[in-house]
């Protein structure tokens, strides 16, 4: 069996394991997960005797004999999410994406971005389904026992979110499922048919027809994003990575992430996959102070409102009257970052490298090595133990204080001023917008009342006419239904109601900014007193 076929079998088996896990999940949930079927179709699409793939994977209707012997049954039940756990690699991928996006927008400010934004604007307008949510990406992972574990994060292309299919998978193009499987088959076929002939001295790899048969209609940016993401997931799936879209992440400098489109996007994600989250990463705050990662799910009231009525009419809002404020739309969840043991070792190595550069300077004095190391060193890092054993004590001391942790950049007082200024500017803008929304709503309310008055007057007139006709014994001129039916103008006005969601979203944004300013005050004051103490003493 040729080498590549073996790799194909290995990848198929890895995908098989993954699909088993998900099939078990979905079975518990009670919905049939169609992923194994489409995966099987992909693998089986070009099975020209290229090696043995398990039959269970090929046959779309086979009942997977899931081996749950080793898995604790309690771990397979679906619980509402109470925590989000991100892998360190995912967090760094997010931060890299944020930095790239910032650089790209800064450099391409004049020419390219103008065209890009116009095209994305048209994309969102034309498709009607594309949501412009800014720099974003998708979290891949799985939720286990109420903890959503995201192991990887891939970046989304452009500001428009990709469309989601009914089972939560990203669509490759707007021409939904049929094109999806065609897309899935094409890369698999191209890959499987790549022949590799190797000799001892050289490697030659012959590639097949390179033109990937992607959906032709990739014109609107939602399609482009979906294409990009779906293809990325395909490639990752072949290597055994998680490909289940567990959530959405958004890059929001200074925490300005609230927008109608984002709430819509989260709602759509929830509809497709009930156990999904939104993670907001704030690169500016991360650079100044602690890493800022927040995870949200839609609150139940918000979900009910969005499900029931897309325009948030007065009736719908009356349902959740006393409980719905802007900030209560999204419920925050605690976030944890997880390292594997290898990551811990690597961080230790980075620490050591930083320390090695310093230690030749300080190691001049042999006396140092005994005195400083025996001093009481609070053990803040537990992960350097593996690597620190082989190093001299001075290096370990240095590693603990000069390495990665703790980060002394946050002592910088000057950065805080700009931070506060930007916050205040954004706050002013947001309040202006809020005021405008309020004014607009008041105007609408006034016109609604006028129309209602007119309608009631007309109804009264008709009734009096009816009564006079009755009195004079003539047939009724207006039927009862005619009288009570609202006139066309009234219905038009009612339909014109400004979207209450906008108000809620703006209010939530202002709230977020105020909270952030408050949060900044604590450390700011502390730092100032620290400076005072240092200058005194």
């Amino acid at each position: 069996m040729s080498g590549f076929a073996r790799a194909a079998a290995a990848a198929a088996f890895a995908a098989h394991e993954e699909s088993e896990r998900q099939a078990e999940e979905s079975r518990i949930k009670g919905t049939y997960n169609s992923q194994p079927a489409s995966l099987a179709r992909k693998m089986g699409g070009d099975n020209n005797s290229k090696g043995k793939v398990p039959d269970a994977v090929l046959d779309p209707n086979a009942d997977f004999a899931v081996d749950v012997a080793g898995i604790d049954a309690a771990k397979l039940e679906t619980r509402p999410l109470e925590r989000v756990q991100l892998d360190a690699a995912a967090v760094l991928a997010m931060s890299k994406h944020a930095r790239d996006a910032a650089l790209a927008s800064a450099s391409a400010s004049a020419s390219a971005s103008a065209s890009a934004s116009s095209s994305s604007g048209s994309g969102s307008g034309s498709g009607g389904a594309g949501l412009v949510i800014g720099t974003h990406g998708y979290l891949l992972g799985l939720d286990v026992c109420g903890v959503l574990e995201a192991t990887n994060a891939i970046a989304g292309l452009g500001p428009t979110m990709a469309l989601l299919g009914d089972d939560g998978r990203l669509l490759a193009s707007a021409a939904a499922s049929t094109a999806g499987t065609a897309n899935g088959a094409a890369p698999a076929a191209a890959a499987a048919a790549t022949t590799t002939t190797t000799t001892t001295a050289t490697t030659t790899t012959t590639t097949t027809a390179p033109a990937l048969a992607s959906a032709a209609a990739a014109s609107s940016s939602a399609d482009r994003t979906g294409d990009h993401a779906a293809r990325h997931l395909d490639c990752l799936a072949r290597l055994g990575y998680d490909t289940h879209v567990a959530g959405l992440y958004v890059v929001a400098p200074l925490g300005g992430f609230w927008s109608q489109a984002l709430v819509e996007a989260v709602h759509r994600l929830h509809r497709a996959n009930a156990q999904s989250v939104l993670v907001v990463y704030d690169p500016v705050r991360t650079a100044h102070a602690a890493p800022s990662l927040r995870a949200f799910v839609l609150s139940p009231q918000a979900r009910a409102l969005l499900d029931s009525n897309s325009k948030f009419s007065m009736d719908a809002l009356a349902l959740a009257r006393a409980h719905t404020t802007g900030a209560s739309l999204l419920v925050p969840l605690p976030v944890r970052i997880k390292n594997s043991a290898l990551v811990a070792a690597m961080l230790g190595a980075i620490d050591l490298r930083l320390a090695d550069a310093v230690s030749p300077v300080l190691a001049d004095a042999a006396a140092l090595s005994c005195s400083l190391s025996t001093a009481a060193i609070p053990s803040t890092t537990s992960s350097t133990s593996t690597a620190a054993t082989a190093t001299p004590p001075i290096a370990s001391f240095a590693a603990q204080y000069l390495g990665l942790s703790p980060n002394f950049d946050q002592f910088d007082l000057g950065a805080g001023e700009v931070y506060l200024e930007k916050h205040l500017e954004s706050l002013c803008d947001a309040i202006d917008d809020y005021g405008q929304e309020q004014w607009r709503w008041q105007g609408w309310n006034r016109s609604l009342q006028k129309e209602q008055q007119k309608a009631s007057l007309a109804a009264q007139k008709k009734r009096s006419e009816n009564a006079s006709r009755e009195a004079s014994g003539q047939p009724l001129l207006h039927a009862e239904t005619d009288i009570t039916a609202p006139p066309a103008s009234l219905t038009r006005v009612i339909a014109n109601e400004p979207n209450r969601l906008e108000t809620l979203v703006l209010a939530a944004q202002v709230d977020t900014w105020c909270k952030q300013i408050n949060a900044f005050a604590g450390p700011g004051l502390t730092k100032m007193y620290l400076a005072k103490a240092v200058s005194r003493g």
Partner: protein, 352 residues
């Protein structure tokens, strides 16, 4: 208000400068040793005999002088190593980034910013790359970030062997670059995680059929920007979780840490600085009482650090301090006011 530099920040800056100087010296040393004494790994063609006598080096313009790697790349490589199927000895992937273009004399610096995994199959005799996968992933990543370009490839393991030479040659021939090879030891063979970077050069008599390749080490450093540094700072302080609740049920040793608020983070840093100051104090008192032999360089270093605190007249400082304090408090008061007003407005609107 003038920026208040604290003693510790100055100390940190001093140490950074020292580190920079050390790195420079190290780089020079590395270049010298390259030219004199190559520690290379030979490929399986038995070119070992040629090493000492035939120094067919092609150093000079166009080779890679140093490599700077983002920490995200390291973590992605480790994640890939963790995910490999059990029968695969090592994993490989491609590196993306940018190259500082110095087409003239001098070495180029490579900046590695991203990576993606490749599916590679190998056994003892042969190794093959799924080039379709490679080109597709490359296209996707370039769509994402047009500034990146392919700069090399990585693999796990702790030595370079014949297959690596073949893959390296493949990369050199398929793409118009001088590829960089990054070797990450994910098995922790020497009880530490070694990350090495290499370029190749021909060994042996040039243009003869016995010519081999040798891998020359390139100094590589980890380059972080502020955001990444603060994330890594948080991650590296993770404690092992006591109760193991990973999905597969296996009891591994994974560490997790919750996101700390700003105050917690600051507190940690301040406690660390306090510890440092206490250590210094102990040392100084030890020297004064004669227990510890005095060290001139350290003493002068400490003196420099202490005197780097700017001297500001007390009254001026008080004024600046009070101004800043008042600004901060006023902003906080306004934001609280805004929040309250907004909350009232929303409740009122709900009543309408």
């Amino acid at each position: 208000m003038a920026k208040q530099t604290q003693k510790e920040k100055e100390k940190e800056k001093e140490k950074e400068r020292e580190r920079e100087r050390e790195r420079e010296r190290e780089r020079e040393r590395a270049r010298e040793t390259d030219e004199q004494d190559q520690e290379q790994e030979q490929d399986g063609l038995g070119a070992a005999g040629f090493a000492a006598s035939f120094l067919a080096l092609q150093l000079g313009g166009g080779t890679i002088g140093s490599a700077q790697i983002d920490p995200g790349v390291h973590l992605a490589i480790l994640a890939h190593a963790l995910r490999r199927p059990d029968d695969l000895a090592r994993v490989m992937g491609a590196l993306l980034g940018s190259v500082s273009d110095e087409t003239g004399a001098g070495d180029i610096d490579v900046d590695v910013r991203a990576c993606f995994p490749l599916s590679i199959t190998e056994n003892d005799e042969e190794v093959s790359v799924d080039s379709e996968h490679l080109s597709q992933m490359l296209l996707l990543h370039l769509q994402q970030n047009p500034k990146d370009s392919l700069v090399g490839w990585y693999s796990t393991g702790n030595k370079v062997d014949a297959n690596s030479a073949l893959i390296h040659e493949y990369f050199a021939s398929e793409f118009p670059i001088v590829p960089l090879h990054l070797l990450v030891d994910a098995d922790l063979k020497d009880s530490r995680m070694a990350v090495k970077a290499f370029v190749t050069s021909e060994a042996g008599v040039p243009s003869s059929e016995f010519a081999g390749t040798m891998f020359l080490p390139v100094p590589c450093t980890v380059k972080m920007n502020e955001a990444e540094r603060s994330v890594l700072d948080l991650i590296s302080s993770a404690k092992p979780s006591v109760i193991e609740e990973s999905a597969g049920g296996f009891v591994g040793s994974s560490n997790s840490i919750g996101i700390l608020s700003d105050m917690d983070n600051l507190e940690r840093a301040i406690v660390a600085v306090q510890g440092m100051i206490e250590n210094i104090q102990e040392w100084v008192s030890g020297v004064k009482s004669g227990e510890i032999p005095a060290n001139d360089s350290i003493g002068r270093y400490l003196l420099d650090t202490v005197s780097s605190v700017p001297l500001i007249a007390a009254s001026d400082f008080e004024k600046m301090f009070n101004n800043h304090m008042q600004d901060l408090l006023m902003v906080v008061y306004l934001s609280n006011l805004t929040r309250t007003q907004l909350a009232i407005a929303q409740r009122l609107q709900n009543l309408v």
